[in-house]
Each structure stands twice: as structure tokens, then as C-alpha cells.
Symmetry: C2
Subunit: 340 residues, 2 copies
């Protein structure tokens, strides 16, 4: 037996009321008597009435839907973020339209367009690595659709964003290693095309300067984040005239590769090399020899703050110019690996 969705029209007919009365009754409008309100609500329940959201969306011009565009859903960082976002959206009765850009500018652009046409109320974006032109986001502004960027934010003015300050974490990381007595600290960094690489490097250098230590650029080695690349980078550092006793790596995966490689082929190292990395991902818990610490970047908190400010934006009808822009910076934090 197939059920056609029933409408307020049919409720109206059944109760000999007008459509508008039914509508208002269901919303508890004061100009409808309590008795009819109850009658209507009862009948609605009886007939298993469910409002047609598409009609409401259309009518109201709002969808209570927020778009989320992420570079890569399968990446742990973004998976955590979207999970946190969805949780809050659910709580606030919003719905999440999800899409991934795969770090492609073209796809990102198309997705923005698509979401605009879907009449999302607002958008959350972590921008693609390759994106160099940001007009598609400007377009949304013209259509009064607020956008909040998070984690990967574009280098443009007048935007709302939530980001993580990696530099402080970077400084903490180096300070930590210095306190542990290391004097030659290497850095296996990511490709220098990434903003994230620059941030790590900046912090690394600043920390050394602050401690009045001389900064040796050759102790920084870029790598492509693959296992092979990591190995090569590691070997470069091991052959350095001031062979580092500690190494900061771009992220936990690079640390894992480096440690794995180091231990397999260099087990007879009398002096252990200590590692510090970034992300504090769950992988650390599974490692036999984890880095001594990792810089947490709080994906869930970033996601939460991002959707919080978006919802704020949606529920204050003041326009942007007068109220300025939300800029939230989360401080990254060095987390020591739990010794078990």
C-alpha cells in the first residue's frame, strides 16, 4: 500500500477549515482558538501529516541547510571536523550538505555553484590547495550567503574564519626539545608550496632565535610526505655534520615513516633520536615507538567554532559591514605522548 504524503489542504477539508487556519493552528498562532488548534493538531497526528519541507524551503527562501566543502573526506582531520560539525548541526536542527573538492579548484567552484542553487543558508569551507582565485566565494557574498572558512583559509580580506595557530605549537615543540637537552634539532617539513609548511618553519626558526641559538637552514629538509620521501629526508639529516638528536616532522605520518625506517636500519644507534610531530592523530596510540610529543590542531574544535559562528551569522540579521568579521584563532598545543 502506497502512501501519498498528505497536506494541510486535506486536513482543512476534513475539518471544514481553511488552509490558512490549519497552517496557523499547527504553528500555535494566537488568532486561532485553542479548541481548533487542538482539533487540528489531533487530526494532523491522526492522518500522519508531515510538512513538506521542500515547499517550506521554497516558500521561506531558507532551507535550514548548511553546505560543507572539504578537501578530502577520507582524511582523519577532516573526518573529525565533519563529525563535529554534523553533531552541532543536528542539535540546532540544521542539515548538512556535504561535498569534497579533492583539492581541485575547478571542482570547488562547481560545488559552490551547486550549493548556491540548492539555496543553502550558509557555507563552511576548508579551501582546496590549488585554489588561487576566490571569486566563487565572493559570489556567495553577493547572494547574502555567509561563508565561514576553517583550517585552510584563503589569503583574502574581509572573511569570517576559524584557524589554528600552528606557529605557537611549533615554538612549543622546539622549546620542548631544547628543554630535553637537544641542541641540534632537525625539521622534516612538507612541500614548501603548502602554507602549513611555512608555518612550521616559521615557528621552528623563531623558537631558535628566541633561545639565542643559531639557526642552520640545512637542518630543514623538505619532503613530499611519502614514505620514500621521508626516508630520503631522514638520511639527509643523519648524514648532516651536526647530526640532529631530535627531529620535528611535518605530521605524525612522517614521524611514523621516519621512526620505522630509522629503527629498521639503524637499530644499533646508541643515542636515540627523539621525534615531535603535528596533528596528534590517533595513529600515535598504535605506534610501538611514538614521537615524544605532537602538536594538536583540534579538528573538532575548529569544526565546532566554525559552525557556531556560521549559525551566529545566520541568526543575526545585521549585515556584515556593520558587524565586522569573525576571526577565531585556536592555539595549537603540544601534547606529550602518554607513556604507558
Amino acid at each position: 500500500m502506497i502512501k501519498k504524503p498528505i497536506t494541510i489542504k486535506e486536513i482543512a477539508k476534513k475539518l471544514n477549515l481553511s488552509i490558512s487556519t490549519v497552517s496557523r493552528a499547527l504553528h500555535g498562532h494566537p488568532s486561532i482558538s485553542l479548541s481548533t488548534q487542538q482539533k487540528v493538531k489531533l487530526m494532523a497526528k491522526e492522518m500522519e501529516y508531515e510538512p513538506n519541507q521542500t515547499a517550506i524551503f521554497f516558500q521561506k527562501g531558507r532551507t535550514y541547510t548548511i553546505g560543507v566543502i572539504l578537501p578530502e573526506l577520507a582524511e582523519a582531520f577532516f573526518a573529525s571536523a565533519i563529525s563535529a560539525i554534523e553533531d552541532i548541526a543536528y542539535k540546532k536542527n540544521y542539515t548538512v550538505l556535504l561535498a569534497q573538492s579533492h583539492d581541485e579548484e575547478g571542482r570547488e567552484k562547481q560545488l559552490v555553484e551547486k550549493m548556491k542553487n540548492h539555496r543553502i543558508d550558509g557555507l563552511l569551507v576548508s579551501v582546496a590547495k590549488t585554489t588561487s582565485n576566490f571569486d566563487h566565494f565572493e559570489l556567495l557574498r553577493k547572494h547574502q550567503i555567509p561563508v565561514v572558512f576553517f583550517d585552510r583559509i584563503p589569503p583574502i580580506k574581509n572573511i569570517h574564519y576559524v584557524a589554528c595557530n600552528i606557529e605557537t605549537g611549533s615554538i612549543e615543540a622546539v622549546n620542548y626539545l631544547l628543554k630535553r637537552g637537544h641542541r641540534s634539532i632537525g625539521l622534516i617539513n612538507g612541500p614548501n608550496t603548502l602554507v602549513a609548511s611555512g608555518q612550521r618553519k616559521e615557528g621552528y626558526i623563531k623558537a631558535l632565535y628566541k633561545n639565542r641559538l643559531k639557526y642552520d637552514p640545512t637542518l630543514i629538509v623538505d619532503c613530499d610526505l611519502t614514505e620514500a620521501g621521508t626516508k630520503t629526508a631522514l638520511e639527509t639529516l643523519l648524514n648532516h655534520k651536526r647530526k640532529p638528536t631530535a627531529i620535528v616532522t611535518f605530521n605524525d605520518y612522517v614521524s611514523a615513516f621516519a621512526i620505522k625506517s630509522l629503527r629498521r636500519f639503524n637499530l644499533n644507534t646508541d643515542q636515540e633520536i627523539e621525534f615531535v610531530s603535528y596533528a596528534n592523530s590517533s595513529i600515535i596510540g598504535f605506534m610501538e615507538h611514538p614521537p615524544v610529543a605532537s602538536v594538536e590542531q583540534f579538528p573538532t574544535i575548529q569544526g565546532q567554532k566554525a559552525i557556531d559562528t556560521l549559525l551566529d551569522l545566520l541568526n543575526s540579521d545585521v549585515n556584515e559591514e556593520t558587524q565586522g568579521y569573525y576571526k577565531t584563532i585556536i592555539e595549537s598545543q603540544l601534547i606529550e605522548t602518554h607513556k604507558d
Copy 2:
């Protein structure tokens, strides 16, 4: 400068045409002359016309949106699955409405309701662990909204589903270890409330029987999948009178915990214990001493098949009764760990 979305009405006025003509022109309807079609299309582009999808959704009763309900977005398996699903949805011009149940039946129920009201065209679900009543899915059937279950499928008749046959992988795993000369093989399994645990156990037992080996139930130890639980389970096996030389574990994480624990406190084991696990997750690539093999469950393929069959369902207007139900089984597959 704020832009109001412009409508076909305004295009019509500007060209002195009727609304319907503009609509048909934009769709290339044959009863509109090519010359006017071009004029209209040109003007549409000029005025930066974008169709109001909410109006179209409402009008057509279809949203080209598919709902996806997963237990936990932050879990690697589901993150891969949703990634694959989104990719295909994007290609086929569908949009993904995402939500997570957190393995709670109540939340799952609410989400289904919400998605129904959003008028999704179809739904993809991996059901929550706690769900025991499946009426909310039945409801969708009545509303002609097709549902395809994947990975975690409910124990009810007449449904479309995509699942992974773990038993064959389980058998492969044990066979593999037997071939490698092991005669005492342990199993660190998950909680027996999980279907997944049962499947692993079944395969384990069948493999032994097929090889005419006696099955010792005490070589199977359940654990809660935590690090501590794994350690306890491992110790139980190590103290077994027929101490296993190989262990199958519920998943890669359990393997990681076990291996870590084993190597830390038992480094002087002359004879190595070999591990085989499930999931073949990326963590294996980062392990210093990975399991020798892992049973791949193909999250992306499952996701792909699931959305493929859903789209099939959506685009064939034959009703379910006549065409039967799609039941796709993916064979799991033992993947040997790449030696590097």
C-alpha cells in the same frame, strides 16, 4: 551591492516572452524556435540567471538529493565510504545529505524522519549497532523512497543491500597462517554482541574444520577493542597451554595494540608470533612491525556499489515488488602486507 536572484519571469519580461516560453527555451524544448532559444539562453547568461533549485525541487517532487546515514563519520571505514559515495553522487549530479547516528537507535530514527521530510530521493544507511526495531525504514518504503543498506545491514527480509562477506576472508586468513606452518592459531575477537565478531569466529572455525584440525574454543578470546582489553586478551593467549604461534585479531588496531604490547614486554621471544587482522587500514603502512596480512573489506567499493544500486533504483520506475531486491555481496580479501 546586494544581488537578488533573478528569475525566468524577469527574463521573460525583458524579452517580451511568456514565462513558459523562457522555461522551455532554456530546456531546449522542440516547440520553441532555435532563434528564440538562443536569444533566451543568451539573455539568461547575461543576467546571470541561476535556476532556483528549491522551486524546482518543490515543483518536481524530486530533490536529486540522497541521504546518507552512517554510524560514525570519524571512523576510517565510514570516512572512506562516504568519500566514495560523494564522488559518485557528484558525478551523477546528485547531492549528499549527510548525518551520523552515533550508533543510537533514537537518533537514527529521527534522522530518517528528517530526511524524509527533506524529500530525499533515496537513502543509504549503515545501521546503528543498537537498532533493534526497523519500522522507520519501513516507513520510507511506504513513501516510495528507496533505501539501500550497506555494510551494517538489518536482519530483515525484502531489502536492498550491499555487504561484505567476511567469512571467506576469515577462512583465507586462517588458511594463510596454516600454510605458513602455524598449527596453534589464536583469535582475539571483538565483543560477541557484534555481528562482525560472529562472522570472524565462524570463518575461523570453518577453516580449521576444513583442514581437519581440531578447534579449541579456548584459543578464542573476546576483547573490548581497547588497548587494555587487547593486552589482557593477549596475555590469556600467551599463557595458554598450547601457546599460539599466530594470532588473528578483530581489526588492525587490535593487532597494533597486541604487537606493541608484545614487543615491549616480551622482546626476548625467540619465536615471533605472526598476526593477521581485518580492515587493511592505512595504519598498517605506518607500523614498524605490521601484521603479515589483513582482510580488506573494501569500504570504497561497498560505498560505490551501494550508491550505484540506489541510483539504479531511482532511475527505474518499476516498483520493487516486480523487480525484486538487489543483494550485492562483496568478497573480502586477504591482503599480504607489502614488505619494504
